[in-house]
Structure formats: C-alpha cells, structure tokens
C-alpha cells in the first residue's frame, strides 16, 4: 500500500474558480490512476467530472496530464508516480479548452483530424475492385507500422508544443493518420496527400518526441512524421521552406564540411526571404553560432566518404515509394 496524494484540477465551468483539490487515498502501488479517481468519485465527491469508459487503454477516453505528462490515466499506475514525484497532480489534457474539471472540448483535435482527409481516396477511373478483397501482402501490412494501433485518445496532441504554438500545425495524431493512408495500397492519392501535407504544417514538427513518450499504444507519431517528410521530399522534392531547409542542411554540409548558416538560410528561404532573418543572423554571430567568413575544412574527401556509406544504410532506403504506390492514377482533388 502507498499513500496516494492526489491534486486534481477542478473548476472552469460557470461555477468555480479553477483550483487544485487535494485527496489522499491508501492504495496498492499497482492501482491505475483511473481507479484512484473513480474512488474519489464514489467515496468522496461524485461531482468530480471526467471522461472514462473501457479502463483497458483501448477506448481513448481518459487522456489527462499526470504530473505534467500526457497520459491515459487508466494505464498509468499510482506507484511509480508517487515514487518519483511524491504526489499525483492531475490536469485536463492540454491544447484544448476546458469544459469542467478534467473534461475538455476535443473539437480542435478532431478538426485537425478531418483536415487530412481521413478516408480512402480512390481513382474513379481505376477504383479498387468492389465485392472482393484487394490483395495485400503481409509486408504491405507491415508498411502501416504502428499506426493501426491509434485509439485517437489525444495524448500526443495534448502534450505537443507545436500544436500549442501554431494553429496551422496538424499535430501528431492527424499526421500519423495521414501516414496510414499514404502507405495504403488501396489509397490512390499518394502525391496529392504528400503535397497537401508538405504545405500544411508537416515541417512544423519540432522532433521533440514528446508524442512518442505520451502515446499509450506506441504508435510513435514523430517517427511517422519523419517518414512522411522523407516520402514528401522524395515524391515532391524540397518545395517549401521546411523541406528545403532539411534537404539543404544535408547538401550544405556535404559541400563545405561545416554548416554554413548564411547559405542555409538563403537556400531555405530564398534570396528575399533572408532579409526577414537579418536580426536573427546578427544574434547568431554574436553568440558564435554563425560566421561571416566561413572556416575552410581541408579533409572533405573523408566527409564525403561518410555520405557514401550513409546512403548505403537500410533505414535511408525508405525513401523509395511504398510498394504499389504511384502506379495507378491519382484520385482527383
């Protein structure tokens, strides 16, 4: 048994001022936090408001913040939290308006989901055969990677710093969902999907990997976003500033042996784009992050040998189109 000190966010409806309410319970260390919260509801205060249903990490109802981290409370146990933090602070999920206590309005999350056209798009001239199964090898099923596990709980979205910063950013769940259609041999909008994603915030992912940590189903959204970036660069080429920045980063070092920030900014943003970055450029020079006169690297051949080796590596070969993609016509816009 362990003394579980809960600090639960309350309020935000028309009634109370937001505050943390403290509850102390004695529970076995292996108790899920959901069970602790339900105990508060049944034994202490039935007005504590939250969403929950399956209690087995499959319905995705109970995403909340546990000591600041986005988690499903049904599959997070009290013991380790108490051991690390001495208490369990429960907040509603982030990046969305609070309705009351631990219940939020998920509309911004689902609005982003809808933006990726989350359904199969078929080429009307070459539709998938109806009334029979589209053959798909186990290897093609493997292309989906972990995305079929997604339960749309919003834990990744709740903890994503880019979602909070940029309303244009689709967020980890919607992008992982988009990946699921991009690699599906039954979907015929490969090029169009990647084009739209590249324009609509794919490159706003900071690669902080908080979504990987938050995801209770190990969907690894950030990895799928990286996959999408690779596929988009390969299919469309470095087109807008984000993808150009990424592509130029690689060639920039290959060219000179060291990152040339001035050249990189010009390559990513275009000649006129860099004027907007002048202030930042001076600040970088002041902090020794960029140089007016670029140092010369002498042993460029060794560096290029590294590039040759890297290009042989298996995980970089993902740049190829998924099997069966781009063969048929595209679904119309």
């Amino acid at each position: 048994m362990v003394e579980v000190k809960l600090e639960v966010f309350r309020g935000a409806d028309h009634e109370g001022k937001p505050h943390y309410e403290k509850f102390t319970l004695d529970l076995p260390e292996t108790t899920p936090i959901l069970t602790a919260l339900l105990k508060v509801r049944t034994d202490i205060d039935p007005s504590l408001t939250m969403r929950y249903s399956c209690r087995q990490a499959i319905c995705g109802s109970c995403a909340m913040k546990v000591n600041g981290k986005s988690r499903l409370v049904c599959s997070t146990l009290v013991g380790p939290e108490i051991k690390t933090y001495g208490k369990i602070r429960i907040d509603p999920p982030g990046n969305m308006p609070i309705l009351r206590d631990l219940v939020t309005d998920f509309s911004p999350f689902w609005e982003r989901y809808l933006k990726v056209d989350p359904y199969l798009l078929e080429d009307p001239e070459h539709p998938n055969p109806k009334g029979q199964v589209t053959k798909m090898s186990p290897e093609q099923v493997d292309q989906f990677k972990e995305t079929p596990r997604c339960i749309a709980c919003g834990a990744c979205y709740s903890g994503c710093p880019s979602v909070g910063e940029d309303p244009e950013y689709l967020g980890p769940m919607a992008l992982a969902k988009a990946y699921r259609f991009v690699v599906d041999p039954r979907d015929h909008a490969y090029h169009r999907r990647l084009l739209k994603l590249q324009d609509k915030g794919l490159w706003l992912c900071l690669r902080c990997s908080l979504c990987i940590e938050a995801c209770p189903k190990e969907v690894r959204p950030a990895d799928r976003i990286t996959d999408l970036k690779r596929l988009a660069n390969q299919e469309i080429g470095p087109k807008e500033s984000g993808s150009r920045h990424s592509a130029m980063f690689v060639t920039n070092i290959e060219d000179g042996g060291l990152l040339n920030e001035f050249k990189l900014a010009r390559q990513s943003l275009g000649f006129f784009g860099i004027f907007g970055q002048i202030g930042k450029g001076f600040a970088m020079m002041r902090h020794g992050k960029s140089f007016m006169a670029h140092p010369i690297i002498h042993d460029l051949d060794s560096l290029r040998a590294i590039y040759v080796e890297l290009n042989k590596k298996e995980d970089l070969k993902h740049r190829e189109r998924p099997a069966g993609k781009g063969v048929k016509g595209e679904a119309p816009t």
């Binding site: 009634e15 509801r41 007005s47 399956c54 199969l120 109806k130 029979q132 186990p138 039954r186």
Partner: protein, 559 residues
C-alpha cells in the same frame, strides 16, 4: 424542432455507424445520437475477430451449423442463415472501406481458429479487431458529411404513440440541455449492458440505455436471461483476454498442471463454446483444482515470443500493465466474467420490433442469432450485418411514414421527471444502490443458478428499484454532470436486471449460458421457445415465442 430526422440512430458503435451509412444510402436524412464520441464506443474492446466462411475449404452451411449448435438450438435458424450468408460480403465490404486486417502470405485475409467452430474462419486484425473495424466505419462516416452526429448526448426516453415511434428525448452532457429529437424511425444500437454486473469485461459505459428505454416504451425484450460469461477475464480487473489466445494455441491449466478441457470437451478441448469452457473452469475451481488466488491459468508460453507479441499484442500489453505479468514467460491468471447478453430488444430478421418505426441491431438487439450462447467472433459480425439491414429497413420505412408528432409537451414531461431527480436535496446513495445491484447479480445470477438465489435476487432488485426512486444527485452543475448520468444509467440497469432475473426464474431448464442447478437438462419439449418480456406497472410480464427451426432439429450437444 432542431433535431428532426427521418432516421435517428441511437448509439455510434459498429451497429449504429453501419446502420447510419445504410439509412443514408436508402435516401433518408440521418442523425446519430451517442453518449460517447463514436470512437469511444465499446465496439473497440472487441479483440479476437469476425467470422466469415471465406475460405474454399469452409462453407456458409458449416458456419450456420456451428452457430446453431453454439446457441444450444435457441437461435432462429432463418436468422442465422442471414447472418452467415451475409458474413462474407460484409467482411469484404469492411475491407473495401479500409479495415486493416492481418493477411496471409498469398495476400488474402488471414484466418484463425475460434471457439465452437469446426473450421478456422475468424478474420482478424491482431487482437484489436473491433478497433480496426470501427476506425474504418468512422472513416466512412466522416467522409459522409451529410450524417449529423450528436456526440455526448444521452437518450433519456423514447416517445411512442399508438404503437408508433415519434422520436426521443435527449440530454446534452456539455450543457445539461434536454431537447426533443423527432424522428420517423429510431434504431436502437446502444450495445451492451454488462455493468449490471460488477465482474464484467464491459466498459464502464455499458449500461444498456437503449434496451431500457425501448423496454419502457413498450418494446419486447427477448431472452434476457441468457448472459454469457467469458472464460478468460484477467483476475481482479476482469479485462478480457481474447479467445484468440486459445485460437492461436493457448491452453487452460488447473493447479495440477492438467489441461483439464480434454476431460470436458475431448474434441474441441480449450476451443469448446464459451458456456462449456466457463462451466468447466468453475467446476475445476469448485473441486479444489484452482490456483491459490482462485484463478485458472491461461498459458501462452509455448507459442513463442514472436507469435504472442504480434498476434496478441493488446492482451500482452494489458497483462503487463494491469497485472504485472508477462504472458511470454508466465501463465495469465483468469476467471470467467460477464461478457455479453444474448438477449435484447426483440426484433425479427429485418431488425423490426413490435413498435412501428423502431428498429434495433447489435448487442442491444436480439434477432435471435445467438440463442442461448453466442459463438466468439459472431458478435462483430452481428453488428455489421444487422446494422446494415436496420439502416436499409428504417430508411425504407421512413419514406412511407408520416412525420413525427413529437412536441414540446413530450420534452417538458421528461424534463420535469429529470428535474425531480436532479433537484432532490437528499436521498439514497447512487453508489450504494449500484454496488448492491452488482454484487447481487455477481453472487446470485451467475453461470450456475439456484432457485433460492434467483428469488432472493429479485427481491433485492425490487427493493433497490424502490430506493432508486429516492436517490440523490449531489452535483447540481449543468456542465458535464456525470453524477446525474450515473443516476440515469443506474435506473436503466435496474430495469434490465429485473428482466434478466424474472426470465431466469421462469425458465426451468438448462440451456446454453443459462444453467439451473435444479433443472440440469435442456428441455426441448417445454422450453424450445424465446422469452419475451413486456414492461407493466407491476414489473416484467412474460410471454413466449416459438423458435424457428429450418434444417437443424435439436440434438445432443457435445464438443
């Protein structure tokens, strides 16, 4: 009124979403009202798979026979024929919608073995088939922007006049508003009611709301006494450990290390039907061969890490997280727990009820295709086959039906009733009534039923229903008031608990999941018939309806 539709679907799980899409196809203006976001529906908890005789070595006929045998001959055989005949097209359609199923080496849909089935005919997506199917249906639902979905609205009561449905009264969780939903046709697709029991695999939200409101509005409930106890629920938490675990080769063992199912079901062994396996496990425990923690062991260790971690990844995660057990190297302690109610809103083979315009599909309904015991992987099939039929039928019905006459007086009546409950200053504890209902059902209305227990349970539920009339909702907020929802769900569950018990007291035989210790044998002469329950002021009034037999006269059942 704002929320007026030709067809209103109650519940947004697999049956509800499938029905909504089909009703739209039939030309109806469709609304869906659900107390949960569609993706939170209990359908996602279905793990093992969905049956369809797609392989050339299998046949619809064999699927039909297995289902009828599994039902202990209580299923209507013409209904089962529809279920199994439509299975192939329905599963293929779900694949066309985008469901990501496991594949075999030749690119076709992979199959696994399941309980009570002579052939391996269970199509699957790892052990999250319900989630995979619901993802695909929700994708179709969001593509189809003409369907209006009312998320997080509870259905409080149906409005029925002169045996014709007029719509329903809904409660919005976000605002506490009570409003009318006029509709020409209503489809009840609200899924399970397992939370009547304490020891259940079902979600917290599984309170049988749709069944209860249909019953109170004058619809017949059929065969409610048939409650399935799944053999392998994780000890303590009762979380489902899919039958696919045994389909993939897992075995049950007692404390002597014996594979005891060989004694009870020499041919099918661990893959006998669920009623048989659950009873065998409980018999082992009663005779002293359970483990010290009261469990039976489910062993997967011999299957190898790779198979267990890929084909059964959900239950591996569940066992690791919720029990601290690694099924790759350790046995899983399991016990039977309430899992499914074969009964439900009584429908014909076209999903119509005794009320004009009222249809039902999925676990909330009873066609009956599962009879006295449902086969594993037939419930997902039921949802999409009969969900589709309900959508088409209700759409056609709405075309020739007159407009709903649901009016403000109907809304006011229910609003007043809710406020009588909501505004009460003190009263009985909701939690206490719920706990007592659940322990009564666990202890006295389980897999083995004694007449005295059943009578005692009925007296108890009657008493609880009395106390419920005076229960106290402490929370007075209009914003997302879960305390009020607790009370509404409890009222629904108490009504259904009473029907289950009354049906079980009357049925003096043992058939499928209903076992009477005082009547240990099946009695086809007297009891080859469906129980129908009608709500009256003095409780459920029972009548009976013959079972449809086509090609398979009842015979002795062994596995």
């Amino acid at each position: 009124m704002n929320h007026s539709h030709d067809v209103l679907v109650v519940g947004a799980g697999l049956a509800g979403q499938r029905a909504a899409l089909e009703a739209l196809k039939a030309g109806a203006d469709v609304g869906v009202i659900s107390k949960l976001h569609p993706m939170r529906s209990h359908s996602v908890s279905a793990q093992g798979g969905i049956n369809a005789a797609l392989d050339p070595t299998d046949s619809v006929k064999e699927h039909v026979f297995d289902t009828i045998k599994g039902s202990d001959y209580l299923a209507d055989q013409d209904g089962v024929e529809i279920l199994c005949k439509e299975a192939g097209p329905a599963v293929i359609e779900m694949e066309n919608f985008g469901t990501i199923f496991n594949r075999s080496a030749d690119g076709s849909l992979d199959r696994r073995a399941f309980g009570g089935a002579a052939k391996a005919r269970t199509i699957y997506a790892a052990d999250r088939t319900g989630l995979a199917l619901l993802q695909a249906l929700y994708e179709e639902l969001t593509r189809e922007k003409r369907i209006k979905v009312y998320e997080e609205w509870d259905a409080l009561e149906l409005v029925v006049r002169e045996k014709k449905v007029q719509g329903l009264i809904g409660f919005e969780r976000k605002t506490g508003k009570i409003e009318g939903f006029p509709a020409k046709a209503v489809i009840i697709a609200t899924g399970p009611a397992g939370r009547i029991y304490g020891k259940t695999t079902n979600s917290h939200s599984s309170s049988g709301d749709g069944c209860a409101i249909a019953y109170r509005a004058g619809a017949y409930l059929k065969d409610m006494e048939f409650v399935q106890f799944h053999p392998t629920a994780l000890l303590h938490t009762c979380i489902l450990m899919t039958e696919a675990a045994r389909g993939e080769g897992g075995i049950l063992k007692n404390n002597k290390g014996e594979r005891f199912m060989e004694r009870y079901a020499p041919n099918y062994k661990d893959l006998a039907s669920r009623d048989v396996v659950s009873r065998s496990m409980l018999t082992e425990i009663k005779e002293g061969r359970g483990f010290p923690d009261g469990s039976i062991h489910l062993e997967l260790m011999h299957l190898g890490r790779e198979k267990v971690e890929t084909k059964l990844e959900e239950i591996v995660q569940i066992a690791r997280t919720f029990a601290g057990i690694d099924p790759v190297t350790e046995p899983i302690p399991v016990l039977p727990a309430q899992h499914y109610i074969m009964g439900g809103v009584s429908t014909d083979n076209k999903t119509a009820t005794n009320i004009a315009g009222l249809y039902s599909a999925g676990e909330a309904a009873c066609v009956s295709v599962h009879g006295a015991n449902r086969l594993g992987a037939n419930s997902l099939l039921d949802t999409i086959v009969f969900g589709k039929i309900a959508g088409a039928q209700s759409g056609e019905y709405a075309k020739k039906s007159t407009a709903s006459d649901l009016n403000q007086a109907d809304v006011d009546l229910i609003t007043k009733r809710v406020h009588t409950l909501w505004d009460r200053k003190e009263g009985e504890s909701i939690v206490q009534i719920r706990n007592e209902m659940q322990s009564t059902m666990d202890d006295r209305v389980g897999p083995f039923r004694m007449p005295d227990d059943l009578l005692g349970a009925l007296a108890r539920i009657t008493e609880l229903k009395g106390r419920f009339k005076n229960c106290f909702v402490k929370d007075k907020s209009t914003v997302y008031n879960m305390n009020l929802i607790d009370a509404i769900e409890l009222g629904n569950m108490l009504d259904l608990a009473e029907v289950i018990i009354v049906g079980a007291i009357a049925r003096t035989e043992s058939r499928g999941a209903h076992v009477r210790m005082d009547y240990p044998n099946r009695d086809d002469e007297k009891w080859l018939k469906h129980t129908l329950a009608l709500s009256t002021k003095t409780g459920p009034s029972l009548s009976y309806q013959p079972v449809t037999i086509t090609e398979y006269p009842p015979k002795a059942r062994s596995y």
